[in-house]
């Protein structure tokens, strides 16, 4: 079974918001990890999750200027930007890592964030499948490969 989006949620905001979501489609799409503060997220951990096969990494932080630990959410934002820069530099799709800022009562907003991330990742997966199938029909040297190719 395909892995879910992994969501690292601050226990003061994003976690409460996502726990209040009732849509089973949203809840079933996410594997949830509780963070004491979004500032605890690490670039290495984000990349490790992608390496382990999670299609996307979502970080749910408190609204800017509303972090219990003053600047944890800004730290998380900077680290997510660094992780996205690393992906860009390596020619990988940066939309696999996303941060959003929500309060504990924003369950409707969290549901929308998850749905739109699912859509973005689905578009990317579909385009990757199309590219792979195009590669599969004609090999690098113009030799027919895949189904229907002559032995």
């Amino acid at each position: 079974m395909a892995k879910k989006i992994i969501a690292f949620a601050c226990e003061n905001s994003g976690l409460k918001a996502i726990e209040a979501v009732t849509d089973p489609g949203v809840l079933g799409a996410v594997e949830l990890v509780r963070l004491p503060c979004s500032g605890k997220i690490e670039i290495g951990l984000v990349l490790k999750c992608l390496e382990e096969g999670y299609p996307g990494v979502l970080i749910l932080a408190c609204p800017i200027d509303n972090c219990k630990f003053t600047r944890g959410n800004r730290r998380a934002r900077n680290r997510v930007e660094s992780a996205r820069q690393i992906l860009r530099a390596a020619g990988l799709p940066e939309e696999r890592v996303h941060i959003d800022f929500v309060s504990s009562v924003d369950s409707h907003k969290v549901a929308e964030i998850v749905r739109s991330m699912q859509q973005r990742l689905a578009v990317r997966t579909a385009s990757a499948v199309r590219t792979a199938s195009a590669v599969g029909t004609t090999g690098p040297a113009g030799i027919e490969t895949g189904k229907g190719a002559k032995a």
């Binding site: 690490e42 670039i43 290495g44 990349l47 992608l50 390496e51 690393i86 390596a90 020619g91």
Partner: protein
């Protein structure tokens, strides 16, 4: 400490593209402190390489290790097996560590993952700046502890040039303080401005890079 930054990813990937078994070797001293080549950065680079290889369908096994220092022979013993099992080592040490790893493991290719920058200080969180140029004959006593060699873009020893404006250097007025402004301010605060009236003679640069590769031999320590 010696400071460094990671090379652009594409440059690293091109260097190691042909390897089938790669060891990424971090260094636990200076480059760990400046967050360029420690255990954490080894993990990040390893993950990035694995993801990029998967995307480009490159088959490469990547092992990770970090030793205390790559500029001392004794610390390499802990990773000897891993190095021997690898086609090549991607060292995340400074230029010293990269070269020394190659000397310790003769016949093993060692690639640099970092660009070594300067001897610097951790000025504030996430900010490092140069303080010493390793000239081999320290003059800090004469300039209130502010180095004109490292902190003046032209390494001037007898006052600022015409490119000093509002305390900034013409080389980069946003980023670089005028070294001579710093020297003046420091000497003034120490009540030692009169010492700057003394003319500094031509410096003997042969004690530094101009004298060729440096070497120190402590006869009392040599076995």
């Amino acid at each position: 400490m010696i400071t460094a930054v990671q090379k652009p990813f594409n440059e690293i990937h091109e260097m190691v593209r042909e390897c089938r078994n790669l060891l990424i070797l971090g260094c636990g001293t200076c480059v760990t402190v400046c967050m360029a080549g420690g255990e954490k950065e080894v993990g990040i680079l390893a993950s990035t390489l694995r993801l990029a290889n998967r995307e480009q369908k490159i088959s490469m096994k990547i092992a990770e290790a970090t030793i205390e220092r790559q500029c001392d022979r004794e610390f390499f013993d802990a990773v000897r097996d891993k190095v021997e099992a690898a086609d090549a080592v991607l060292s995340m040490a400074c230029g010293v560590g990269v070269q020394f790893a190659g000397e310790v493991f003769e016949g093993k290719r060692v690639f640099p993952a970092l660009n070594t920058k300067f001897y610097g200080t951790n000025e504030s969180v996430g900010v490092w700046s140069e303080r010493c140029a390793g000239c081999g004959s320290c003059v800090l006593d004469k300039f209130g502890g502010v180095c004109p060699i490292a902190r003046c873009s032209k390494s001037l020893l007898n006052g600022p040039c015409g490119g000093s404006q509002n305390g900034k250097c013409e080389v980069d007025q946003e980023r670089i303080d005028c070294g001579w402004q710093l020297i003046y301010d420091r000497m003034k605060s120490l009540g030692l401005l009169h010492l700057l009236e003394h003319n500094e003679p031509l410096k003997d640069w042969s004690t530094g890079r101009d004298g060729g590769p440096g070497k120190i031999v402590r006869e009392d320590m040599v076995l």
